[in-house]
């Protein structure tokens, strides 16, 4: 059993929805990321998504693009990201960590080398945004061999055939992108998300998370009622960006946001 599977099983037992938080590793400084991860967990995050900075984040909106640029300005490499996970794991052995990023940094490191290093560092899952299952026949077996769960996105435009194919390759959970667009976009339509989740659940027993557009406690609460996990990214990263020159206030601001979402989600349950 992976940490991710354990986490969802425990939450189900408590009748709660997972809160998945995203920050970009190395934003604004590599040394600040592991402490921020601790804060996120203390304030109610169940699963941590850690963005691997990339020079060309095609699927991300402006907030996460800028986070990537700040991290790259500090030369945060994939190896640094794994060091951050290792540092986090020295204090926390239970909270799942999912890396989210693009294929090229992994490719240049080498699939085997990356997967072994990620497992050793304590990574639980990897969401490679630009690697659909059709192109993953080399990488996916290597991930599984190293007990890394391949996490995939599903989109409003994904056909039943694609949902079938993707959930067939996925482990841990699947991540439903709640709207057409990039990360951090606006306008969440709860009913259409609920309809799509119903369809997805007929095809997989995996937990289904919802993200892209969860901005505040109210949207988190609405999504918590229909999803197994709520993913929050740009809203948190915006706080990091706002306080980039006052890092001492960052933990408090992010903690407050996450706590408010957690409370709203648990009330809705």
């Amino acid at each position: 059993m992976s940490r991710i599977t354990d986490c969802f099983a425990a939450l189900k037992h408590q009748n709660r929805t997972a809160l998945v938080t995203f920050i970009t590793a190395g934003d604004p400084q590599p040394s600040m990321t592991a402490p921020l991860m601790q804060t996120l967990v203390e304030q109610g995050a169940d699963i941590l998504e850690l963005g691997v900075p990339f020079s060309d984040p095609m699927a991300d909106g402006p907030v996460i693009q800028r986070a990537s640029e700040r991290a790259l300005a500090q030369n945060t490499s994939l190896r640094d990201v794994l060091d951050i996970v290792r540092e986090f794991r020295s204090q926390n052995l239970t909270t799942p960590v999912v890396l989210m990023g693009y294929l090229n940094p992994i490719e240049i490191m080498g699939y085997q080398h990356f997967a072994a290093a990620a497992q050793e560092a304590g990574v639980d899952g990897v969401l490679t945004v630009d690697l659909p299952p059709e192109e993953g026949h080399e990488f996916i077996p290597v991930m599984q061999q190293h007990e890394l769960d391949p996490i995939y996105l599903l989109a409003p435009t994904s056909t039943p055939e694609r949902i079938q194919r993707i959930t067939g390759s996925a482990r841990g959970f699947v991540y439903y992108v709640s709207l057409k667009g990039v990360t951090g976009a606006a306008h969440l339509d709860v009913q259409s998300v609920a309809d799509k989740l119903t369809q997805i659940r007929t095809m997989t027993a995996l937990p289904v998370g919802v993200g892209f557009g969860v901005k505040d406690a109210a949207t988190a609460k609405a999504m918590a009622q229909i999803a197994d996990a709520v993913v929050v990214g740009s809203a948190i990263v915006s706080q990091i960006e706002r306080l980039v020159d006052e890092p001492s206030k960052m933990h408090e601001a992010i903690g407050e946001l996450v706590r408010a979402m957690r409370t709203a989600m648990d009330q809705g349950a």
């Binding site: 990339f54 020079s55 060309d56 984040p57 095609m58 699927a59 909106g61 402006p62 693009q65 800028r66 640029e69 790259l72 490499s77 994939l78 190896r79 693009y102 294929l103 090229n104 940094p105 992994i106 490719e107 240049i108 490191m109 945004v129 630009d130 690697l131 659909p132 059709e134 192109e135 995939y152 996105l153 599903l154 989109a155 435009t157 994904s158 056909t159 694609r162 993707i166 992108v177 057409k180 667009g181 990039v182 976009a185």
Partner: protein, 399 residues
């Protein structure tokens, strides 16, 4: 293996190409693939495209024998495929007409495009005006500053030019931004990619629209010289004009093929845009190909005097032709390209685009190593009017 039959069904040229995009783009790409599969064999569609190429673009473009240039070098005879004489001044329009007609067939009312030098943006804005489609062009802030005239042309044509300020603020970032627009507006929007890169089916589709260059050239060279040329030369940024010329000759193994990348300040300087000559395979913009990247897999900034060659990737079919050794990829520096620009202008009265000047520069080197009886066909992919400011600035002049 027959290189003429690539890509395979899943869009691969050997290990290159493919579809490396987020799930949010998979369905729009599949919709495009199916539409292209259908219309590429549709006689009405093809007839409409060909009529536009003839009456609107002015095809076939002539081949010109550059006799004085050839004599000055004393080696092989140089012929120029005059894509610079096309409407809008470059080969780009062959592709934008094809894709815009496809957009109309698919019921899309809005087209988007990325542009570097502005030639593809102008070609997209042009066909959008002609077909009554809304047009948004993404262009890096840096490129907007160095290609003012083309920005104004696009605006005159009714396009909205959106400045891209992320990343290196050049062509690659414009492509990222256009992809983000597409994924957000898939219902009504068609993304016209300007080169033979991107996720399948773009590399194959753009190639198919550009091979009109090579098909015409085969006939014209045989009419003019009684045989096929001994060598083909074309500049390679993303590689659309090059593949357009090369592809119909791939099976003619006696015809040597040279793709010319931008060596900028020199391949050793690191300040260049030559992924095939000095890069490594990786994944960017939806396909696996040779890239300019650092040891962490981050895409690095490119340098070339020519904005149209300033791109860190290259079409996947070129990557495969390199590995197969069917084509040779070489590079010429900014200085060599500028010298060729002046030579062609003064000796033949033809002002080439700085992109095409790279091909001219290499052809001049190659000609000197070949016999007088041999022939070289160079793709003169665009005209140089857009580069007046850049060339003048090299001489310390401000226009």
């Amino acid at each position: 293996m027959n290189v003429n039959q690539l890509p395979d069904e899943s869009g691969h040229f050997g290990p290159y190409g493919g579809v490396f995009v987020a799930e949010t783009l998979m369905e729009p790409i599949e919709e495009l693939r199916l539409a292209y599969e259908k219309y590429r064999q549709d006689p009405t569609f093809l007839a409409e495209w060909q009529a536009d190429l003839h009456h609107y673009v002015g095809r076939p473009s002539p081949i010109y024998y550059a006799e004085r240039l050839s004599d000055s070098l004393g080696g092989a005879q140089i012929y120029l495929k005059r894509e610079d004489l096309n409407h809008t001044g470059a080969h780009k329009v062959n592709n934008t007409i094809g894709q815009a007609l496809l957009a109309k067939r698919m019921g899309k009312t809005r087209i988007i495009a990325e542009t570097g030098a502005g030639q593809h943006g102008v070609a997209s804005a042009t066909v959008a005006a002609r077909l009554g489609l809304q047009c948004v062009v993404y262009m890096g802030e840096v490129d907007i500053a160095r290609q003012e005239a083309n920005v104004y042309r696009m605006r005159l044509l009714g396009a909205e030019v959106r400045s891209v300020t992320s990343g290196s603020k050049t062509l690659k970032d414009a492509l990222n931004e256009a992809m983000r627009d597409w994924v957000t507006n898939v219902d009504d929007t068609f993304y016209i990619i300007g080169t033979v890169a991107g996720p399948h089916p773009y590399p194959a589709m753009v190639r198919d629209f550009q091979t009109v260059i090579g098909r015409e050239s085969r006939e014209q060279m045989q009419d003019m010289t009684g045989r096929l040329p001994d060598a083909l030369v074309a500049c390679v940024g993303g590689g659309s004009n090059a593949i357009g010329l090369f592809h119909p000759f791939l099976a003619d193994t006696d015809v040597a093929i040279y793709g010319v990348e931008a060596a900028g300040s020199g391949l050793d300087s690191g300040m260049h845009a030559a992924p095939l000559c000095a890069g490594k395979p990786g994944v960017l913009h939806g396909n696996r190909t040779y890239l300019m990247e650092d040891t962490d897999g981050q895409i690095i900034e490119t340098h070339s005097i020519s904005a149209g060659l300033d791109y860190p990737g290259v079409g996947p079919e070129h990557a495969w032709l390199k590995d197969l050794k069917r084509a040779n990829y070489v590079a010429v520096t900014d200085d060599e390209a500028l010298n060729a620009f002046h030579q062609l202008t003064r000796i033949e009265g033809i002002i080439p685009a700085l992109e095409s000047s790279h091909a001219i520069a290499y052809a001049m080197q190659l000609a000197e190593r070949m016999d007088r009886q041999q022939t070289i066909l160079v793709n003169l992919s665009g005209r140089g009017d857009k580069d007046m400011h850049t060339v003048a600035a090299q001489e310390g002049l401000q226009l």
